[in-house]
Structures are given as C-alpha cells and as structure tokens.
C-alpha cells in the first residue's frame, strides 16, 4: 500500500465512504470484493481479478482476503447486517441457506446476467439447482470443487492396480479398496493411503459425507425436528474410516499438510483430498492422476461445494457499482479456464466443454464429479467452514484416532445437531 492509501484510509475513516459517486460518473468505480481463497487458489484468483480489471477500465475490483472458516462467514454476516458490506463476495454454495432467508444477500437479476452473456443453460443442472432459494437465484457458481482421490501412477503401476487405460482399477467395495491400499503399501513401504484430518472437521466431514451419500441415502436438517439420517449408513461409514488409520493402510494421525506432504514425496500411493491441492501435487513432480472417490457402497457420490458469487445486502445500493459487479462476475466466469488449472471444475459449462479444458489432465478424469455432486445438507448452520463441521470434529476425531467407538461418536454428534435444531431458527 502506498502513501496515497494512507491518506485514503484517513479520509475513508472520517466517514466519507465512496464519495458522492453519482456526480462523478466518469470516475473509476471501486468495487469491494471479499473472498477466502489463499495459497495457490489465492494467486489464481488474483490473476483473474487483474484480468477483469484490465479489461474493464471503468471499475477496479479491490479484493480483501479473509481467513477460511467460521471467521469469514461471521464477518460477512456482520458486514451485511451492518449495511456496508463489499459489493460482491465469494461464499460456499452450502452456506447460502444461512444468508438468503434472512435477507443478508440479495438475489441475482437473471435479465442483467443474460445481458452479460450468462444464462441458466450455462450451468450443470445440480449446480444451478443449488444456486436457488425460494425460486430466486442467490449465488452464481464459479466452480465445483469435489473431494477426490489422487493417486501416484508409479506406485499404482508397481502395485499392479492400474487398469488397461492407465488409470486406477475400479474397486466397488470397502474390502477391495483396502486390499488395493495394502498392495500400494507394499510398494511404498510406508503407507498405502494418505489422509490427514487432525483438527479439521471439514476434512473429516468431506470424506465421511462422500461415503455416507454412497449408501444412496439422504440427510435432512429441519429446524424444529430431529435430524433425519440413516444411522446405520453413518456408523458404517465412520467405522470404515476408522479402520483405515491402522498405520499400515494410512498413518494413524496427522493433519492435512502432513498427509499432503507424505503423498507428495511418494510415501503413499493414494491421497484423499480436495481438488484444490492439484497444483501442489504437480509442483511436487510426482506422476499423479486423479479420479472421484471409488464407489464403495453402491451409489456414486462425491462431496463437493462451490465457490459462488453473492451480492451482500447494501443499505444504499449504488446502481452503477451493481452493474459493474455483473460485468466483473461474468468476465471471471468466462475466463475461468485458469481456475480449472488450479484443480477446480469450472461452473461455467462453455469452459468445461471447451477443447482446452478437455486437454487438462487429470482434471478431465474427475470432471464427472459435477454430475454426482453431494452438497451438504441444507440448514442455516451447516456447510463449508461452519461451526457444525467443527462440532463434527469434536465428536468424530476420537473415533478416527481409535479412542472412541463409531456409534458413540456418531450419537454424540447427532445429539449435538439435534440440540442445534431444537433452538429457534435465527434467520
């Protein structure tokens, strides 16, 4: 930040935000943009922002990056309640049910979107469905980012589990999967699978929910009622997960970065991870490919969420800025091939169907995830980066560490959820 920023900060602080904009139509509009993308994602997002700024001299988007997790969503809610939020923000699609009903975000104008060249036909059905609430569109998906399985083709080849197409063999049951992991372990002499979860409820949840949904069952969270869940499927999924951490198939305990580091240096043959780790994998230089997590319980399912653009509620709406936001968002969507390079599956179908995207490996090998997406159960308190996922960790971490029985851990979590559901709905 330069000296002018210091002065600007002082002026802004005196309450003169946005300076009587209408009279200065020729001036460059400042668009505030909040997101929670950091690391490799952050760099790619910044590049997309820069590209949009360059292409549109009429406005300048100023991003603010906030910490991923409950703090981001809390601040966004507080800013929207306070009436001076950024003009546009990124939100996980799974969190929208906590904001839309209470009026903290505003719906998108489909006509204005169409003017900028984006319509509902440009999105995969499940994703478009998720964007809506009460018949209105509240979020525009930039991507879907599923939880997938990366594998080391070298290790897999030596373990003899590669199919004829050079990709991993299909396995369709928990035992088959474990057998495959054990084969890989013999090659690496360390572990067959990497999965770090310590301290991260989100990480545990992603794998769990994939397995749960593979049972072909649903989970419903309706305020005022107990959680609707298939307990057997839930406990079975947890038991399976716990059985993986026996220090042969996978390390007994490690956090996310430890797991990634292990896989990246060839200490295992498979890694369960979000697609956003793809750049790290490529940088590590190992021969990596990817696929959706094998269907172990019959129904293909892939946990995923979407980074989506939302319009926080403005106390005083600046029409010009609002229009600029539409232009910015649609520009980013159209240029989201670079976002795909970060591992995500773009939400904008024209990019997904383009030749350039089809040539991206391993992205193309898991692009089918968009068709089998399992979004989080909807409620005001669930979703990515929610406290609910933290509660999951509180009850399930000990199960995965082998200190607690799966049934006990699940029941405790279910009880906690039911307590939440019994409380008055604040949105």
């Amino acid at each position: 930040m330069t000296g002018s920023a210091l002065l600007g900060g002082g002026l802004l602080a005196a309450g003169l935000t946005g300076c009587g904009g209408a009279a200065q139509a020729a001036a460059v509009q400042d668009i505030g943009f909040w997101h929670l993308l950091s690391g490799g994602d952050g760099i790619k997002m910044q590049a997309m922002i820069n590209a949009a700024n360059q292409a549109n001299p009429g406005f300048k988007v100023h991003p603010t990056v906030l910490a991923w997790g409950p703090p981001y969503y809390t601040k966004l809610a507080m800013a929207s309640a306070g009436g001076r939020p950024p003009e546009v923000a990124i939100m996980h699609a799974s969190r929208v049910p906590g904001y839309a009903p209470g009026g903290l975000i505003e719906p998108w104008d489909l006509d204005l979107l169409a003017e900028n060249g984006v319509t509902s036909a440009d999105f995969a059905p499940r994703i478009w469905e998720k964007s809506q609430h009460n018949g209105q569109v509240f979020s525009i998906a930039l991507d879907s980012h599923p939880f997938v399985m990366f594998y080391n083709t070298d290790v897999a080849g030596k373990a003899g589990v590669l199919g004829s197409n050079g990709q991993l063999q299909e396995v369709s049951s928990p035992d088959e999967f474990k057998a495959m992991a054990l084969e890989m372990q013999k090659v690496t002499k360390a572990h067959g699978l990497s999965f770090g979860y310590l301290g991260s409820g989100s990480q545990m949840w992603r794998l769990f929910y994939t397995l749960y949904k593979q049972h072909g069952v649903d989970m419903e969270l309706t305020p005022g009622q107990p959680m609707k869940v298939d307990r057997e499927a839930a406990v079975e999924s947890l038991e399976f997960m716990a059985s993986l951490f026996d220090d042969t198939i996978a390390a007994q305990a490690g956090d996310i970065s430890t797991g990634i580091a292990e896989f990246a240096r060839g200490g295992s043959g498979m890694l369960f991870s979000g697609v956003w780790e793809l750049p790290t994998m490529k940088k590590a230089g190992i021969p990596v490919d990817a696929a959706t997590i094998p269907t172990l319980y019959g129904t293909p399912a892939s946990y995923a969420d979407s980074h989506s653009f939302v319009l926080p509620r403005q106390l005083k709406l600046n029409e010009d800025k609002r229009r600029d936001v539409y232009k910015f968002v649609t520009d980013v969507l159209k240029g989201s091939l670079s976002w795909a390079e970060a591992g995500h599956i773009p939400g904008y179908q024209p990019v997904v169907q383009s030749q350039a995207y089809r040539e991206l490996t391993p992205q193309i090998h898991y692009a089918n995830a968009a068709d089998i997406i399992a979004y989080d159960p909807e409620s005001w308190f669930s979703g990515s980066g929610s406290d609910w996922q933290t509660y999951f960790a509180e009850n399930v971490q000990n199960v995965l560490l082998g200190r607690d029985k799966a049934a006990a851990g699940w029941d405790a979590f279910e009880q906690r959820t039911n307590t939440l559901l019994s409380r008055p709905n604040p949105v």
Partner: protein
C-alpha cells in the same frame, strides 16, 4: 505509607513512586551472583520469543519452513519477508489507523475524564454522590458484556465500519476518572483560593491552575489509555469489517491465512506490528512504567 530514608527520596504522591532501586553497600556475595544468574536466565527466556520471531523473519520462506529447525538459516539472512509484507500487505495503513484512533481516544478520554474528575474533586453540586457512585460502580462492568448491545447500537446508528465506531465507545474510562480525582484531591486548595477570590471562573481555575500541576498524572493516564486503545482487539474486531479501517491488531489477525503458510512473512508482520510501542518504550521507559503502575492499580 512510605518513610523517607537516607537512600530514597520521598514519594511525591501516595499513588506514585520513583521505582528507584535502593543501593546499599554492594557485596558480591554468592547470593547476589545467584540472583543475577537467575534473573538472567529468566530474561533470556523472556527474550526468546522476540529473538526467534526475528530470526524467522529474516529467513527466506524456504528456510523458515525447512524441516530442519535452526537459528542460522542455510541461505543466510535476508529482508525479503519484510519487503513482501510491505508490498502486499497493509501494515502501514493499519498502523495509521491504530495511530489516529488511539490518539483520538486518548485525547477525548483525557478531556472528558479530567473535567468530570475536577468537578467530583472540587465542586459541590447536587447529585454528586450519586454520580460518583454510578461511575465507580461502572468500573465493574466487563467490556465483553457490552459488545452485543454496542454492536447493535452502532448498527442502528449506521456507524459500523466507520472509525467513530472504534473511537466512541473507548473513551469511557471510569477508573481513570477515579485516578484523576484522587490526584486532584491532593492538590492543595490554597492554590485556587486566591483565584476564586479574584472571581475567576471554574473553567479558568481548571485550565490554568489545576491542569499544569497535573502533568504527571495526565501523562500517566494518557499512556495507559493509549496503550490500551492501541492494543485493543475485541471491540475493533467487532466494529469494523472493512479492510481499510482495520487497526493493527485486527488487521494482523487477517494475515494469518491470507498468506497461506508463510512463516517468515507472518513473523515479519508481527514484528512490524510490535515495533511502534516497543520503540516508544525504549525512549520513554521511565514514564511508561510509572504510568502503567500508577494507573493500573485503579484500572483492570
């Protein structure tokens, strides 16, 4: 309370003291050597966090994240983390925000607190006892109880995300009113009597007689309030979301994951944030220590 001795000057007020160390005949006994050693060990322990942060901040990012943890980095020391932080971050902006909000808070607090303290000390007015009781009672109120209604109030006044939201609630320091009043109580009334008889107004007496005599306590209060305002986290965290308005402690909190896991830069940012008050402390050690000790007794 204190009896003047040959070795120490008498304290000038009951709340202040010189913090001078008595210097009796100094024999280098085993006891003294042991004491120096223990004090030194503790001092080293206490300086380690600073030292380690500094060592990390001057490493390259790769060295800082290297599995081999060392004090001396293989690639040598480099200021690149600091450069990056300046380029990408907002430390100067946040420092400025902290500076002017803390200055405003200190100035306003001093003015309003001194005024009411003088009234409580010198003027006999109806309802004074009640006012005094209410002010003293309010010392008990813990700030966390106020955050919810204050947030809502700022929301209603449309002041969230303005610097007024940061400044206004922080100028209320009932404990400081009490401290100031106690000090004023000790100023001999004779000094004002003459002015009163000359028909001078209360305000003139206040500004021309009382205030000049109160420099030490005003400085002490100013220091205490300034440090408190500068380092305050909870309320500014709640009152502002806009990146341009963040004060240093709050802004620093946001960098933790914006940079991913960049240890050297994190430490560089932390050191830059720590710098202002530490530098001030190096220059004004005596005053700051005295001010904090004096006023800290009354405040919490």
């Amino acid at each position: 309370m204190a009896i003047p001795t040959l070795t120490r000057p008498a304290p000038s007020t009951t709340t202040g003291n010189s913090l001078k160390i008595r210097q009796p005949r100094r024999k280098l006994t085993v006891g003294r050597i042991a004491a120096i050693v223990v004090a030194a060990v503790i001092a080293v322990l206490w300086l380690i966090p600073f030292a380690w942060a500094t060592a990390t901040a001057f490493k390259t990012e790769t060295d800082a994240a290297a599995p081999d943890v060392t004090w001396l980095p293989p690639s040598g020391f480099t200021p690149e983390a600091f450069v990056k932080v300046f380029q990408d971050g907002n430390i100067p902006l946040w420092t400025w925000n902290s500076l002017y909000t803390s200055a405003a808070i200190t100035a306003i607090t001093l003015v309003i607190s001194a005024l009411v303290a003088y009234a409580l000390s010198r003027i006999d007015f109806k309802g004074k006892k009640v006012l005094m009781t209410v002010i003293i009672a309010s010392i008990i109120i813990p700030p966390p109880v106020l955050i919810i209604p204050l947030f809502y109030q700022m929301l209603a006044l449309n002041l969230i995300d303005t610097s007024w939201a940061i400044i206004l609630p922080q100028v209320i320091h009932p404990a400081m009113v009490f401290v100031l009043k106690k000090f004023f109580d000790q100023i001999p009334r004779e000094l004002e009597e003459a002015a009163v008889m000359d028909g001078a107004s209360r305000l003139r007496i206040f500004t021309q007689i009382i205030l000049p005599l109160s420099r030490p306590i005003l400085a002490a209060v100013a220091i205490f309030v300034f440090i408190g305002a500068w380092n305050n986290f909870l309320w500014p965290f709640i009152a502002t979301n806009d990146g341009n308005l963040l004060t240093l402690p709050v802004g620093l909190q946001t960098i933790k994951s914006a940079y991913g896991i960049q240890y050297a830069q994190n430490m560089a940012s932390a050191l830059l944030a720590a710098l202002p008050l530490i530098v001030v402390f190096l220059f004004f050690q005596r005053q700051i220590i005295k001010g904090v000790a004096t006023t800290g007794l009354a405040g919490t």
